[in-house]
Assembly symmetry: C2
Homo-oligomer: 167 residues x 2
């Protein structure tokens, strides 16, 4: 991923948590092209497509998921219920949407979010994608924003390669 | 979801399993707008966006994941390793891609696939999406193709709402 494509993702989560949830995120050191992605307990996933193809995963601790939902709904959920999953889907949508506005030249649209729960779930990006994993912490706990993107030139090159090569 | 938008998804998994894997899928009764989605052990997720926004989830038993990978790579994996996750990502990509060709008027592009593993993971679609869940069985075991889509008229209405960071 080019630096100018990474930057909008470095700031979007901080901005969304600050403006929507009045919550300060502290950013850790990003990792490029990490392999397997051990996730936190709740993960929102949303695709982007247009002149580039991408996916954004926002994976959060249980306590972050509860805190986000309490802030959005004004009531503390007592479990990882449908409200929590909807809240994390909405936050994922906002983080990807805000980053997208910084990548207007890629003319990407958002797909629909899905939200995964499960104690030990692992999320893997396709092996062609260049990924960045950005850890954050806040008063509620830890979260990670992971982004995979295949840019125009790479997509054209990848189309010429055999499918399962270079795993 | 309109019937003409459902039909390509009813046939795409059967066609991909038949042509790519020489495996016959038997289709069960589809369910509309199911709420929580208890998933099989391995799930491929891919977004679509354009004049409609969607997401396709292909969730498969462990034995289906192993069988698909063995067929694609010519070697049986001994665990749910990176090869298995890449194979399920590729199959998810193909199923969504084939359905997309039957929905050319929606001008959707594919986002990047991600693949989830985890014994008890649950996948939830955003509450705005109209969903269909289609169960299949084959010699290897069971799988489900789940599709969520927000169609043109709904997407148009959404586009008139102010966006968070204003494109």
């Amino acid at each position: 991923m080019k630096a100018e494509h990474i930057n909008p993702f470095l700031t979007s989560a901080v901005e969304v948590f600050s403006t929507m949830l009045n919550c300060d995120l502290k950013r850790g050191a990003p990792t490029l092209n990490a392999a397997f992605q051990p996730a936190h307990e709740v993960s929102g996933i949303i695709g982007l497509s247009g002149k580039a193809s991408g996916v954004v995963v926002v994976s959060v601790d249980r306590e972050v998921a509860i805190g986000v939902t309490e802030k959005m709904l004004g009531e503390r959920p007592d479990s990882l219920n449908a409200d929590v999953m909807d809240a994390i889907g909405e936050i994922t949508n906002m983080i990807a949407g805000r980053a997208k506005t910084g990548l207007a030249h890629l003319e990407m649209n958002l797909a629909l979010p899905t939200v995964i729960t499960g104690n030990d779930h692992v999320i893997r990006f396709g092996s062609l994608a260049k990924t960045i994993s950005i850890p954050y912490s806040c008063a509620w706990g830890d979260l990670t924003v992971e982004v995979g993107l295949i840019e125009e030139d790479e997509a054209a090159a990848a189309a010429k390669k055999p499918m399962m090569a270079g795993v």
